[in-house]
């Protein structure tokens, strides 16, 4: 027998089988997974997940108790950015120093990547080792924080309310929802996963509500937009400072375990980007 012929024949057989068994190069979720990773990994301050972990620890839990949920919150943040950047929305070509998702992968994949990130976030929220009833409450908190009474409602308000009608009340409506709802929701989720007692939960919720609003006010100060155009820089800054003091005071009874939350509140007030 001719070994060379045999080898060649078998190599062809094996190569064809490999081609058949390996996921094909056009395996679509591969491309989708790439776009999801592109939109989440790399730069990003991870403020929402860090707040969830810190709130969990402040309530007496371990950071690892809230890790799945913390990641889900970052996926949700990323989904909102990917959809916000779309041409029909803010039409941004860049995000975090690189091409925005739809510029890199095309507009259709931009829409679907956001959809997939949101869906996968809820998938993640069902995982890890807590009691089912805690998970369920966490999922409901998140769904409400980002639903029509929360983040999406705020985004719709932001794009549909005419500039001329942006009075103090409309502004407050947008501010507490568009950004604030997910920030304060992150704190509540951490508190739930840290099995906070009712008193501690209530303190953390007060903290989260204030920090969420401060986050949006500081965004406005940095962009010279929103509340700043309406009330002026000085007044907005004073309010943000007062809210931060209230947030810090709210978690004072929690002692040394809440120290990271107090530092985070000050960071959110004084951040420059």
């Amino acid at each position: 027998m001719n070994l060379n012929t045999y080898l060649k024949q078998r190599q062809t057989l094996v190569n064809r089988a490999l081609e058949r068994y390996l996921p094909p190069p056009y395996f679509a979720p591969g491309r989708l997974h790439e776009a999801m990773r592109y939109s989440v990994l790399g730069e990003g301050k991870r403020i929402r997940p860090v707040l969830a972990l810190a709130a969990c620890e402040a309530a007496g839990g371990k950071a690892s108790d809230a890790l799945h949920a913390a990641c889900a919150l970052e996926l949700i943040h990323a989904y909102s950015l990917v959809h916000d950047d779309l041409p029909a929305m803010d039409d941004d070509d860049f995000r975090r120093g690189k091409l925005s998702c739809h510029k890199k992968f095309g507009e259709a994949l931009g829409i679907l990547t956001g959809d997939a990130l949101l869906t996968y976030a809820f998938d993640l929220l069902t995982r890890a080792n807590h009691g089912a009833s805690v998970h369920l409450r966490v999922i409901r908190e998140v769904a409400e924080a980002i639903g029509t009474e929360g983040m999406v409602g705020g985004q719709v308000a932001d794009i549909t309310i005419p500039r001329a009608k942006l009075d103090a009340r409309a502004m407050e409506f947008i501010n507490t929802r568009k950004t604030g709802a997910l920030i304060s929701g992150s704190v509540r989720v951490g508190a739930l996963l840290g099995r906070a007692t009712p008193t501690v939960y209530s303190a953390l919720r007060r903290y989260g509500d204030r920090v969420g609003l401060v986050f949006q006010l500081v965004d406005d100060l940095l962009d010279k937009d929103g509340a700043v155009r309406l009330h002026g820089k000085e007044k907005v800054w004073q309010r943000a400072e007062r809210l931060t003091q209230e947030a810090v005071a709210a978690v004072r009874p929690l002692g040394v375990r809440a120290e990271p939350l107090r530092e985070l509140a000050r960071f959110i007030l004084t951040r420059s980007s």
Copy 2:
């Protein structure tokens, strides 16, 4: 005192208060809620929710046990249609005999309405009166059915795989995911909420997998697209018939309670739209 003056003064006071206390006309979620209702209510065969209710009853549960989840499945279906119709995707101006969501409300609101429907579906899935662990499993089933390994993955495959590379394997990949995953997921969700025993669950899952695939094959037959272009009408029709027989056979052991499921399987095979 002059009653007329008094009345006028008080009327003005009251009218101003009403204006302040009533949700303003530009109250954004109002517009969002309108777009959500527009995209869900009216026409629509409600096949996914009906399958969930029928599977719940076939497993021995009451239809009302699966009603929240059934509605959530229809919201998810509506979300996928709203995003599919967007200009960057299929660019459809009409849906169910009226303007598509983005044509009626604008493209930005089209994106956000889909997002809100998806989010609200998960919110709904946390509600009703089942044990938390059943809810949690249902949420995970739904998230997987519509995630990157399910519906969204199938949609991405559908738009990214070049027509020339649409071989039998790629076609099967798309068919089992794009439409089939949510259909079969609906049956599994109903089975879980009807507290199916492992044997019954497994029978219902076999039923759902087949009906999900038949649904997509019939779509292809009606559109003369996909599997039909590849295999020809005759072969696709034969396969759809065989799968339907298998689906009917899978739930035969469940007796009279599964009669609606058997009728639904035949309806899905023979529907003309």
